[in-house]
């Protein structure tokens, strides 16, 4: 029971090895192996959820073994309030995306092997507490992603894949430099994030600022924050459904998670100075600009991609507020966006599998003969619009509530995005699902059992978290509120402490 996190991280890797041992043509065997490999994650995730101590900010379920002692590199993993929700999300999304991939017919073996490798990489990023380990996992993720987009993607897949790869690598090498800087300018050189955070005060503010920028660019590319976001639409449009699900569901969260874990945790003083401009303003731009761009799209999937850009903006805005509501809302938004956007991409995939195109104006009247599909899509759309009673509402409200007093203008703009979102979402829904029956699509079958199986759990979570967000907030609150206090306390001028309710 004391290696849970190792298991949850490397179970998929074991699955990958097993798959590689399978004969190439045993497609179903491979598929079910992959599915089985993600089950332990779900089980352990539930166990973690049940046994997570919400009262403490300390690292839990920690494991630490020396790796390269000469360089103070440890295999140090664990979870705390900052990462637990992301661990749960990763387990869930990966489990679902495996089933969403059952339709893959080309190179099944390679596909699922890479998918599981990706899974390990992502889970590792969220459990790693040694910066070096974190970085390894962070980069490991790139390779399978490159191949998954590049081999199983759409027509312009090569462009999209290399764009994603180059862009993200550019970001991560900056992170590497910052990491080394942190290592050497710490009084006691270490990669242990907890120790680095503990010694945060020992860094000169100038160094903090430089490192902060480097780290921010690295993470912002992943989020993706304006103006580093253009790889996202391309990657999404080309990627196969399940990969889009993972991309939007988990990968984007790594950017904001990294900012929380590293920028906030280790460089609080710089965070306090810079967040306003780099998280607040940029986040607001993301929110509004993303919504505007989404309205202009004609490709269903691209539209959803831009909506992700818009919704990730809320996370950044919430982080920039330095209020308990803001930071909690931000992380909750990370979780909610993960579930909702996963639904949306699965739903796009459903219609793409049937119609083999994604031109919004090419559809119409689908609701008439695909009622279940239209119904669940409606639910997902309204969830994405932040309709009260669904999960996203809570997080967006907390974010805006948290940032109103601090950044009124930004908040007003951010809140206005609720109108814009309703605008493009409803318009899209109308053009695709409503209106006179389109006889081109008469023959289409409604959602299959497998598709339902991938969608229903997400839908259930969206609704449950709408009326009982405490299920996640309870996990976060202690750690995040503490982290927030740390940042505020590190401010040269602690004027805004009053707002730290």
């Amino acid at each position: 029971m004391d290696h849970l996190l190792t298991i949850i991280t490397f179970a998929p890797l074991v699955g990958m090895v097993l798959i590689l041992l399978c004969p190439r043509d045993q497609h179903n065997l491979i598929r079910w192996l992959a599915a089985a490999a993600t089950v332990p994650q779900i089980v352990i995730a539930i166990y973690l959820y049940a046994h997570f101590d919400t009262a403490t900010t300390a690292v839990q379920f920690a494991e630490r073994y020396p790796w390269v002692p000469a360089y103070h590199i440890n295999y140090f993993i664990g979870v705390d309030g900052i990462s637990i929700s992301m661990v749960l999300l990763t387990a869930l999304i990966c489990f679902i995306s495996v089933f969403a991939s059952f339709g893959i017919e080309k190179g099944v073996k390679g596909y699922f092997a890479l998918l599981l490798l990706l899974d390990t990489g992502m889970m590792g990023v969220f459990v790693a507490l040694d910066f070096f380990l974190f970085y390894i996992f962070w980069e490991v993720m790139l390779l399978p992603m490159y191949f998954l987009i590049g081999i199983w993607g759409g027509p312009r897949r090569e462009y999209a894949a290399i764009k994603f790869f180059l862009y993200t690598l550019l970001g991560s090498v900056l992170i590497l430099l910052a990491m080394l800087g942190l290592y050497y300018y710490n009084p006691t050189p270490t990669f242990d994030m907890t120790k680095l955070a503990a010694n945060a005060a020992s860094y000169s503010i100038t160094f903090q600022r430089i490192a902060w920028i480097a780290l921010f660019i690295g993470f912002a590319i992943k989020i993706p924050a304006f103006p580093f976001h253009t790889w996202l639409p391309d990657a999404h449009v080309e990627a196969p459904t399940a990969i889009s699900v993972i991309l939007a569901g988990i990968l984007l969260k790594m950017g904001t998670y990294g900012i929380l874990r590293v920028n906030f945790g280790i460089l609080p003083a710089a965070t306090h100075d810079m967040a306003w401009a780099f998280l607040g303003v940029v986040g607001t731009i993301n929110i509004v600009y993303g919504a505007l761009c989404a309205m202009a799209q004609t490709d269903y999937k691209k539209l959803i991609a831009y909506s992700s850009v818009s919704h990730m903006g809320y996370v950044m805005l919430g982080l920039a507020a330095f209020t308990a509501a803001g930071i909690n809302g931000a992380v909750l938004q990370m979780f909610n966006h993960g579930t909702i956007t996963a639904m949306l991409f699965i739903l796009v995939g459903v219609i793409y599998d049937r119609a083999h195109h994604r031109e919004i104006d090419g559809f119409g009247g689908l609701a008439s003969h695909l009622p279940i599909y239209a119904g669940i899509t409606g639910l997902a759309f309204f969830a994405a619009m932040g309709l009260p009673g669904m999960s996203a509402f809570i997080s967006e409200v907390l974010v805006l509530l948290g940032s109103w007093q601090v950044h009124p203008i930004m908040t007003v703009l951010g809140a206005s995005a609720a109108i814009l979102t309703a605008g493009y979402m409803l318009w899209t829904y109308q053009r695709i699902y409503l209106g006179p029956v389109n006889d081109r699509y008469i023959g289409f079958s409604d959602l299959s059992a497998r598709e339902l199986f991938t969608l229903v759990p997400l839908a259930a979570i969206v609704l449950i978290l709408g009326v009982y967000p405490h299920a996640i907030l309870g996990l976060l609150n202690t750690s995040l509120t503490h982290l927030n206090q740390v940042v505020i306390a590190s401010a040269p001028h602690t004027a805004s402490v009053a707002l730290a309710h």
């Binding site: 253009t230 505007l292 761009c293 009260p388 409200v397 805006l400 609720a418 309710h501």
Partner: protein, 685 residues
């Protein structure tokens, strides 16, 4: 104030409709196939009537309590508890929410019954009742939520249901467009509303009471008095103003009323329940709910009253020119809601709630009557194709007439009591101009209502032949409901009689505890002599009669020809009114189109500037590598043919990174050595 009575029946009022919605929406198709529409109807109506029954029993419990203790709380679980803001899923029953609950479940219940008949031939029967139940649920959450965020859940929830039910017949694109319009316009209001909530929260937390639980807000809001807010307004003024903007969306006031007329695209029972009786009154309810805040902000109150009166008049003028039987009623609803806001604005909350209630009765009755007519006419809604229906459908006619008399404010019908109260209060509290506007609106109301009655039920039939012999009185399920509502429109005013008849105001007394904050009380009672009260009643009745008379001359006796009036200012005026002052067109041109343009620009910018920059950076690297190749070639081969090569053959040049010439290499060493010495020299200085 004392702790509220803790009860656990309120949750059932809410959960029953939810259960009905869940069953009908998830299992509806199956039930309908296996057990038939009867089962659907049974579930749909059953849950609402059951909720109504519970509400009634709750009402009895409440009146049993002493007036000061009539507060019930049903606390379920912690919703969110972040940053000192602890919100529960909890429901709050006080006299005000009691009245609303009774209206929602009662009127809602009968409209459910009516729908069983009206929607009987529709294949999506199950979907209709599912959404109708869900609406009831959302409306009850709005009414009963004990904190403002929970109220907001209902607030947008009803918007969702309204969206879904307006576009219920989604195969017709226009219906869905109307639904989108309704939702988006409401979102505009909601945007202001949430801003108000944020401000309120921070305001209260700055006085160390971070909360949005309504009763706690009521408890501490006085601390906000005199605090500066935004836009140069005081904090409370800003908050209440934002809230009112939200209300203008929900309750279809200027400038956000435009969605309501389009909303008539939905089935008529929907128009009756959502767009007349209940949802559209949410704004008024919210204002009354938060009266302690509004009363603190006189400038907001003035805005509310003015907007209300303007809307009342403005919508009425549009109403006189409409020919669609439902559109007329829609604008009349907008107008009547204007009355209610006027009442709120002048501080007569009780009068407002009173009118809200009576309006629920007679406007529902009118809509359902219209529905019955449309049902009989086979979907025809144009009054110019109707006429003489009173013989064919007597029940519909008589109930419709009763409701008409009520809305026009003829004694002793319900509308007379409530509308008079509002006009009286407006004048008595010194808002003569507002009084004048609403008074004029009353005349217009009576004109367009009787115009409608005459065009629909009098004269000879103007429809097609098959429509004519298809004409029939609606089935019992519908007509019975008409009778019930008709009766209520007659006697509903009895709960608050004018002072000169009798000092009998049970409603006002019942609501008093809700409107007892010191600021509200300070607005308080104004002494009105019975004499003046009688005078005002007489004036009102006279105005109503005038409207009736003109309509009578025009549309029954035909001694006056409407065309002559239409032709005034060579028809321009008439056309402008007929086209609803082109407000939709103006919004389209001023807001929607520029916005779409902006979106297209953003999309273009993203694809052609931002992304281009990204690709450009890659291009720069390639170009640099070309340059480096050029540099080599330059150093290596000397200037020989350089230019010509570059210009002639770019690609070839690029690949000539390595020239084969050995001498070239040797030059390179020399150049290298020179270069190094140069660098060294530079590093030295």
């Amino acid at each position: 104030m004392e702790n509220p009575v803790s009860v656990d029946f309120i949750r059932w009022i809410i959960l029953l409709p939810l259960a009905g919605a869940a069953i009908n929406l998830l299992l509806g198709p199956w039930i309908q196939r296996k057990l038939g529409k009867g089962a659907i109807a049974l579930i749909g109506c059953g849950v609402v009537l059951a909720a109504c029954a519970i509400a009634v029993s709750g009402f009895l419990q409440m009146v049993a309590l002493p007036p000061g203790r009539r507060f019930m709380l049903d606390d379920l679980w912690v919703w969110m508890n972040v940053g000192g803001m602890k919100l529960d899923i909890a429901f709050w029953l006080d006299p005000l929410s009691m009245v609303m609950t009774l209206i929602v479940t009662g009127v809602g219940g009968v409209i459910h019954i009516y729908s069983t008949g009206y929607m009987h031939d529709d294949d999506s029967f199950w979907r209709f009742f599912g959404w109708l139940n869900l609406f009831t649920f959302a409306m009850l959450v709005l009414v009963l939520g004990d904190n403002l965020w929970l109220m907001f859940v209902g607030w947008e929830g009803v918007g969702l249901c309204s969206f879904a039910l307006i576009g219920f017949w989604h195969k017709v694109l226009a219906n869905t467009t109307a639904g989108n319009k309704a939702f988006i316009v409401n979102r505009v209001g909601d945007w202001a509303f949430v801003i108000a909530l944020y401000t309120l929260y921070w305001g209260l937390s700055s006085v160390d009471h971070p909360t949005l639980v309504i009763r706690e807000v009521a408890q501490w809001s006085h601390l906000l008095a005199g605090r500066p807010g935004y836009l140069g307004l005081s904090l409370v003024s800003f908050i209440t103003l934002m809230m009112f903007i939200g209300a203008t969306g929900k309750s279809a006031q200027i400038p956000l009323y435009v969605w309501l007329p389009d909303a008539m695209a939905g089935p008529t029972p929907v128009s009756a329940l959502i767009h007349a009786a209940t949802m559209v009154t949410a704004g008024i309810y919210m204002a009354c709910r938060l009266n302690f805040l509004f009363s603190m902000a006189p400038d907001t109150m003035l805005v509310v009253a003015t907007i209300g009166a303007l809307t009342a008049f403005f919508a009425a003028t549009i109403g006189i020119a409409q020919n669609d039987i439902k559109k007329v009623l829609a604008y009349s609803t907008v107008s009547q809601l204007g009355y209610m806001f006027t009442a709120v604005g002048v501080g007569a909350y009780a009068a407002s709630v009173f009118h809200l209630m009576t309006h629920a009765f007679f406007k529902a009755c009118l809509f359902l009557g219209a529905g019955s007519v449309i049902h009989a006419m086979g979907g025809e809604q144009d009054m110019r194709k109707m006429g003489g229906l009173r013989k064919r459908m007597p029940i519909t006619f008589w109930t419709f007439l009763a409701a008409t008399l009520a809305i026009c404010g003829f004694p002793p019908f319900a509308g007379f009591m409530s509308k008079d109260e509002i006009l009286l209060q407006a004048f008595a509290r010194g808002h003569q101009l507002i009084w004048a506007l609403t008074y004029a609106a009353a005349g217009l109301t009576s004109f367009y209502m009787f115009r409608q009655v005459y065009m629909t039920f009098f004269g000879e039939f103007r429809g097609t032949r098959e429509q004519e012999h298809h004409l029939h009185e609606s089935p019992l399920s519908m007509s019975s409901v008409l009778i019930v509502l008709g009766v209520l429109s007659v006697v509903g005013g009895g709960v608050m009689l004018p002072g000169y008849l009798a000092d009998f105001k049970p409603l006002e007394d019942f609501l008093k505890p809700v409107f007892s904050s010191e600021f509200t009380r300070r607005l308080g009672e104004v002494p009105i002599s019975h004499g003046s009260e009688i005078a005002f009643s007489a004036l009102a009745v006279a105005m109503a009669l005038a409207g009736w008379f003109v309509a009578d001359l025009m549309y029954r006796r035909k001694v006056l020809n409407p065309e002559t009036f239409a032709a005034l200012f060579n028809g321009e005026l008439y056309r402008v009114v007929l086209e609803k002052y082109y407000v939709d067109e103006i919004y389209q041109a001023v807001i929607v189109n520029p916005y779409l343009m902006l979106c297209r620009m953003a999309g273009w910018f993203d694809a052609n500037i931002i992304d281009a920059l990204v690709n450009l950076s890659a291009l720069v690297v390639v170009y640099a590598s070309w340059l480096s190749g050029l540099f080599d070639a330059y150093v290596v081969d000397g200037l020989v043919n350089l230019t010509s090569n570059v210009t002639l053959d770019f690609g070839g040049r690029v690949r000539r990174l390595q020239t084969g010439s050995i001498n070239g290499y040797l030059y390179a060493i020399l150049a290298g050595v020179m270069f190094i010495l140069l660098v060294r020299a530079m590093l030295r200085v």
